[in-house]
Symmetry: C2
Subunit: 211 residues, 2 copies
DNA sequence: CCAATATATGCCGGTTAGGCATAGTTCTAT
DNA sequence: ATAGAACTATGCCTAACCGGCATATATTGG
């Protein structure tokens, strides 16, 4: 099908996969997943294998990507994808649309903290400590990958975004640390609440029950 | 079915909805959505209406929540849900489990920036500016809601988490501002790349084409 | 040389979001 | 006073999406 001016309708993940291809290399589905874990993951989750493979099939059926089967020796082949001219155009058109969908944040750690009224304070502390350390590990990974990206001026925007990610995880780490310092005071305050008893009791009962 | 010690298997959203009920009030599905927009949203997306209603049905079928139909005047009724003792126990047991699922972040703004090599620099600047302002608006809302939560010591953990959210959106705003200051340098650097031409050309062509 | 790990792809079931439909209710502005 | 807008309240359907599982072959290290 020839290029028409309308931007094809794709889910965000579809654009992300096409974006991965837009750097110009010919990649297999497996390569794309690793690529995604390398860069995309720090700010846009990382699509699952199954998602990547099905998006690739859709991109190809829309003419935004094309593939060829690379056979080495004899039988075993892998499918290598590359972006088409139409794909480049579509991607540019998509990025030029004004609408940017809102940031999705699902923060399991904060969900647990928010349910502090049914938890043990020590457990909250443990979760937060773990999250702080995890954030620092992510920061370091972003830093390493950013340094990797800085060798090539064609990756200037990747480098920019990874610098952002480095700060993101540093901030995340610092907020966890700060929250740790506020936790005791919160627990104390909560226990002055008359309603605290019942919830507290339930958690206590559970512990007895499981022991 | 009677309480067994095993924690029932629920998706995170199910626990979040049960968590909303765990504050002790009797609420309709609609109330829950508003409640979620008021607190949950700042750190854990906000489940859609359909999701909330179907989770409520599941919670009830699992015995973790119960409902009664409130009729006013005559016919029109709404279903009011409350948490059961078993629900309280299950929630406490769930929060006490080690595993916390990883933070999900899907940052559409950074996705666009990452694709800077197919975009117009002015457009990137516009997106980023908008995001900075949006973050500040979210910060203010979190601040307002935190102040609302501070009146009741039973909401101490909600207040704690909303304080975190306030900082989160302030940090988000500041990172956007910082990135704005780095954008020109990145664009300049990118244009020194020999590969920049082709991508740039594609975007240019598109603009001509649409004009 | 065998085991472990990596490459490579796909299916399936369950979770989730978002749009749409519906219907009664309360508020608001002319 | 009343039309229309906005809010309350619930549910259905489609498409998106993840994670687990299954299945190969390929490479690497002990």
């Amino acid at each position: 099908m020839p290029s028409d001016d309308a931007i094809p309708s794709l889910p965000p993940t579809g654009w992300a996969v096409l974006g991965l291809l837009s750097f110009g290399e010919e990649l297999s589905g497996y390569d794309l997943k690793r690529w995604a874990d390398w860069s995309l993951r720090f700010f846009y989750w990382s699509p699952s294998f199954s998602q990547i493979y099905s998006e690739l099939r859709r991109l190809e059926s829309n003419g935004l990507a094309a593939s060829r089967i690379e056979t080495r020796d004899d039988v075993r082949g892998k499918r290598m994808y590359h972006i088409t001219d139409e794909g480049q155009r579509a991607l540019a058109a998509w990025t030029a649309t004004e609408h940017v969908d809102p940031v999705v944040l699902k923060h399991g750690v904060m969900l647990r903290l928010w349910l502090g009224h049914v938890s043990e304070p020590e457990h909250l502390r443990a979760i937060l400590t773990e999250h702080r350390d995890q954030s620092e590990r992510m920061r370091v990974r972003a830093e390493v990958d950013r340094e990797g990206a800085s060798v090539e001026p064609g990756w200037a925007y990747t480098e920019l975004v990874l610098r952002w990610a480095e700060r993101y995880y540093a901030d995340e780490r610092d907020r966890a640390e700060l929250m740790l310092s506020e936790l005791d005071e919160t627990t104390r305050l909560f226990q002055t609440s008359p309603a605290a008893d019942s919830a507290r009791r339930t958690a206590e009962e559970l512990r007895q029950h499981r022991a």
